[in-house]
């Protein structure tokens, strides 16, 4: 369908985008790759009156070595994340998972920042950032601030970003020698995960869940069990604890609670084998 009428502004710099955000408040939406926002607008489920297009801010498209972490610019497209040599070497879980987002068209338009800032619990990359213990860098009128991934996702499609803030960078800690796995369970290659699991292990473990609640979730009970020496299978039995999975076309909540245990076990086993 055709979206409701909106004004369109193309930002030439981050500062200009922030100024526009400040001017228009919650009536405005940032447009990056558009692959989450535009479908909602076309179905008239979202009707922002101003779109601030940041898609051409090329200086926010990068993958850089930050010493103990890798820094990814918010406007880096999924495809560029997928094929980045630096990410493949230092944060292979992210590069691998970026290659599983949507379909090739989506991966060539959609951006990592858009995906994380949208905060969709069914998206792949927010859970990966959570499992890795990443840091989100936001800029607003008051300057720049860092937000731990664990503090970022507040509710369904709600994040720690203020209406006048913009996500500019995603920092992923390097974990040399860590084993990792992403288990995406879906019916069609292009679909969102019915349930997904991101896991990374070396010493401690980071496990995060896709589509098991109103936000991407950290599987704390699983992580604690592992820390106390539980086997992957025993730890995985805790995977559904504290989750509130949706009940929808693709699966009931009960089924998801079962599925997440199987997938966490598989993820931990695969991560163990890779580590």
């Amino acid at each position: 369908m055709i979206p409701s009428a909106f004004d369109y502004v193309r930002a030439a710099s981050v500062d200009e985008a922030l100024a526009q955000l400040a001017e228009h408040g919650d009536e405005a939406k940032l447009l990056a790759g558009g692959h989450s926002l535009l479908p909602l607008m076309k179905l008239r489920l979202a009707a922002p009156t101003v779109l601030i297009d940041i898609g051409r801010l090329r200086d926010l498209s990068y993958v850089r070595d930050g010493g103990n972490h890798v820094a990814v610019g918010a406007l880096t497209r999924h495809r560029d994340v997928e094929v980045s040599d630096l990410l493949r070497a230092e944060v292979p879980l992210l590069a691998h998972t970026a290659g599983l987002v949507g379909d090739p068209q989506v991966r060539h338009r959609g951006t990592i920042g858009g995906s994380v800032a949208h905060g969709d619990p069914a998206s792949d990359l927010p859970a990966v950032v959570l499992a890795l213990g990443g840091t989100l860098v936001a800029r607003g009128p008051g300057g720049e601030r860092e937000i731990a991934a664990g503090e970022f996702f507040h509710g369904f499609l709600e994040t720690a970003l203020a209406p006048d803030e913009m996500l500019t960078e995603i920092r992923l800690p390097k974990r040399p020698g860590a084993g990792w796995s992403y288990q995406k369970f879906n019916r069609r290659a292009q679909d969102w995960a019915i349930v997904g699991v991101a896991a990374v292990r070396n010493g401690g473990a980071g496990v995060a869940l896709v589509n098991m609640g109103s936000t991407p979730l950290r599987a704390t009970a699983v992580e604690q069990a592992l820390a106390s020496g539980a086997s992957p299978a025993d730890a995985a039995a805790h995977a559904a604890e504290g989750t509130e999975p949706p009940d929808d076309l693709n699966g009931s909540a009960d089924y998801r609670r079962h599925l997440v245990q199987v997938l966490v076990r598989r993820a931990l086993e695969e991560a163990g084998a890779r580590g």
Partner: protein, 758 residues
């Protein structure tokens, strides 16, 4: 050497792959206004008021119409045997009967203004209870048409014997849901209309240009010579674009009322509720026979969901009945049905239209019977197949099959699949308790094309033009099938005129005087035959003419198919080119070298085949992965294997999709919950293996080309093969049936239930 039977690449593809086709929405139409429909948001409700005043004042609004503004009679039921009270209004005025039922038409200057104005239409509904489950329809107090006194559209009762299964040693019964699916053509519905001095030109995204013309004439009270319908490039139909929908037939009425061109194209979300759906049968299957595997009696009782307004969907069980016993020589069989209304999108023909449902029922029944006996499903099939020496074969429901060799199809597919190795691998995995269990699914199918009755007609014409090129006009209406290539091959083969010099024209009722269209796998054996006959007629005219010009006996004139000339036998130097002959013919009588043929069939044909599907089932998650698909499809003599394989590929993909992915779903209130392609699991190449296609050709005597239809075979054979494979993977757990689509949760639950009861 004949070009027929060769893998000739499609003449139409360079255009589609470069500049693209010209679809209805691409037609330039100066001054056209745009139609947007406001549709019911309720499944069943009484309309208490419609307020369009705000919408009238919205930017760009030219006009707003409700049903009360139209001087049009409602659509009567599409078949005479349907309950006559079940009429369909153009725009709902008193009652809406499904979510998506059009209520208001808004015409705007620009396309984008329509959806904005539509949000300003206020329809007040008094909700009525909705009938959503077809099994609740007949006994419901809620009637969609109270004046009809019933929700039953039509009952096709041919008799039910209480003693049908007497004497059987084993009888198995199963309720089977052949779920509702959406055809999902890539091009959604579209129409455009322009009046010039009282004459209408109407562009339609249709499989039947002439059918659309006739529908416009009938509904709007026009004469055929007042209407020109053009079906330009059409992006798929699958049976759902046969005839005309109210939304498209209203477009010329609006254009006339407003005195300017009007056009309409629906959105995908509208198409998912407005375009007809397919399948939607609930079947009770009963099969009985001896312990040696011989089936003696079979019965299928069909409940057909017709949706809110009876269309062709209500007649699908008739087609199902014709193919009740499939490829098997079963002595006694019965098929009875009822078609009922529900507050859902009307059902129509969809790739196979009634025959996939028959094949799914009998192929599932064969597996159930085999499982009960502990026999290999391939062996049970073999024991019961109609033998090659039994054709023509009359089935217990009086369908007469033309030709076939079903056992050979079965042998070929088992051999190509490596059936015994697959069974060994399955046994190994079962023994090892593997998480991924292997399933092997079989189907042997037969279907009916260019039917169901003799006397099916199609029109075709061939003309040799003054420059020696040929013009073919056809009544078929291709929308992906490749008729430009196929008809050019037929003419080129007959006349020796190069493929590139044969132009094929279709889908314009001013250029093609009559035609039936493209559906039911009919085109080659009817439309292709008309072209073939017309070409033969042209040759005969040319031979007479060449004989006169060359002062020879017509019997001595031969066609040089390589050089494209006619000459005296034995003396190629004494010859006339097609251009010379066309010129001479024009000079003679002004008529030129041309022939028109209305081909009429003497019998339908019965394509058949055998499919093997191999699946991995993840027993921890229920996820099914199709790992191999092997298909033998016999459609008689094949004109162009490349085109035929394209049809097989598409059909198999859609059939697999029904088995594993697709299902139109409603919530208990009748709200559709699969109305976009994110929620409706349309299949893609990523979910499919490369198909292993095995050729087999058993010509039919029904037409000189020996051809049967190939358009629907894939979607008929593949669905039960895949469904049987899923069940087969789990049969060692005691599982005998899993309904479609075999979604992960459904399969997982079947495993849970089976392991809980063991």
């Amino acid at each position: 050497m004949s070009i027929l039977g060769n893998r000739v690449v499609r003449k139409e593809d360079p255009k589609f792959l470069t500049v693209g086709g010209t679809y209805v929405d691409d037609i330039e139409l100066e001054g056209a206004a745009y139609v947007t429909y406001v549709r019911s948001t309720m499944a069943h409700a009484r309309i208490t008021s419609i307020d369009v005043e705000e919408a009238r004042k919205a930017p760009g609004v030219v006009a707003v119409y409700t049903g009360a503004d139209l001087d049009l009679e409602p659509f009567p039921p599409t078949m005479p045997m349907f309950n006559a009270a079940m009429t369909r209004p153009w725009l709902a005025t008193e009652v809406v009967r499904f979510v998506g039922d059009p209520v208001v038409a808004i015409v705007t200057e620009e396309r984008y203004q329509g959806p904005d104005a539509a949000e300003l239409v206020f329809v007040e509904y008094e909700p009525l209870p909705a009938v959503v489950d077809p099994e609740q329809s007949e006994g419901s107090d809620v009637l969609l048409f109270p004046e009809a006194g019933t929700n039953v559209v039509v009952e096709l009762a041919f008799g039910r014997s209480d003693d049908l299964f007497d004497g059987c040693e084993v009888v198995v019964r199963q309720r089977i849901v052949n779920q509702r699916v959406a055809p999902c053509p890539l091009e959604v519905r579209a129409a455009a209309a322009r009046w010039d001095d009282g004459r209408l030109t109407h562009w339609a995204s249709s499989q039947t240009a002439h059918g659309t013309r006739d529908a416009i004439c009938q509904r709007l009270g026009l004469e055929p010579d007042q209407v020109r319908v053009i079906a330009p490039d059409v992006g798929g139909g699958f049976g759902a674009k046969v005839g005309g929908y109210p939304e498209e037939l209203l477009v010329p009425w609006l254009a006339r009322a407003l005195g300017r061109p009007v056009r309409w194209v629906e959105t995908r979300s509208e198409s998912m509720v407005g375009l007809g759906h397919g399948r939607a049968q609930i079947q009770l299957v009963e099969i009985g026979g001896k312990r040696d595997g011989k089936v003696e009696a079979y019965r299928v009782t069909v409940l057909q969901d017709a949706g809110a307004y009876p269309q062709f969907g209500a007649m699908l069980p008739y087609m199902t009945r014709l193919m009740t016993t499939g490829v098997y020589a079963i002595p006694k069989a019965e098929c009875n049905s009822k078609s009922v209304l529900t507050n859902t999108t009307p059902t129509v023909a969809y790739r196979g239209a009634g025959r996939p449902e028959a094949a799914a029922a009998v192929e599932r029944a064969m597996d159930l019977f085999a499982a009960e006996l502990g026999m290999d499903p391939a062996e049970v099939r073999r024991v019961n197949l109609i033998r090659a020496d039994q054709f023509p074969f009359t089935t217990p429901v009086d369908t007469v099959y033309d030709t076939g060799d079903y056992e050979r199809a079965l042998d070929l597919v088992l051999d190509a699949a490596g059936y015994s190795d697959l069974r060994a691998e399955q046994a190994r995995r079962r023994q090892a308790g593997d998480v991924r269990q292997l399933g092997i699914g079989l189907s042997v199918y037969v279907e009916i094309t260019a039917g169901p009755f003799p006397g099916e007609k199609e029109w075709g014409a061939v003309e040799v033009r003054a420059d020696g090129t040929a013009l073919v006009r056809t009544g078929t209406s291709p929308h992906g099938q490749g008729h430009h290539t196929a008809w050019a091959m037929i003419v080129s083969d007959a006349l020796g005129i190069a493929l590139d010099d044969v132009e094929v024209v279709h889908g314009d009722t001013d250029v093609v005087p009559t035609g039936t269209g493209t559906f039911g796998s009919r085109s080659l054996q009817l439309g292709g035959m008309a072209v073939h006959r017309a070409a033969e007629d042209v040759i005969e005219q040319a031979r007479q003419l060449a004989a006169e010009l060359l002062e020879a006996n017509p019997d001595d004139i031969v066609v040089d198919k390589v050089g494209g000339r006619l000459h005296v036998a034995g003396t190629p130097a004494v010859s006339k080119s097609w251009a010379e002959l066309a010129g001479a013919a024009a000079a003679n009588d002004g008529g030129g070298l041309a022939a028109e043929v209305l081909f009429e069939s003497t019998m339908p044909t019965f394509p058949f085949g055998a499919h093997v599907a191999v699946v991995d089932v993840d027993t921890e998650t229920g996820r099914v992965e199709l790992t191999r698909f092997v298909a033998v499809d016999d459609a008689g003599r094949i004109l162009n294997p490349l085109l035929a394989e394209g049809q097989r590929h598409g059909g198999i993909a859609q059939g697999v999709a029904q088995a594993l992915l697709e299902e139109v779903r409603y919530d208990p209130d009748g709200n559709p919950v699969t109305s976009n392609l994110a929620d409706y699991a349309f299949i893609s190449a990523a979910e499919l293996p490369s198909f292993e296609l095995v050729p087999m050709e058993t010509p039919t005597p029904a037409n000189p080309l020996g051809a049967k239809g190939i358009g629907e075979s894939g979607s008929i054979g593949s669905t039960p093969a895949v469904q049987n494979a899923v069940v087969d993977a789990l049969s060692h757990l005691g599982i005998r049936h899993v309904d479609m689509p075999a979604s992960p949760e459904r399969v997982w639950r079947a495993i849970q239930d089976a392991t809980a009861t063991r």
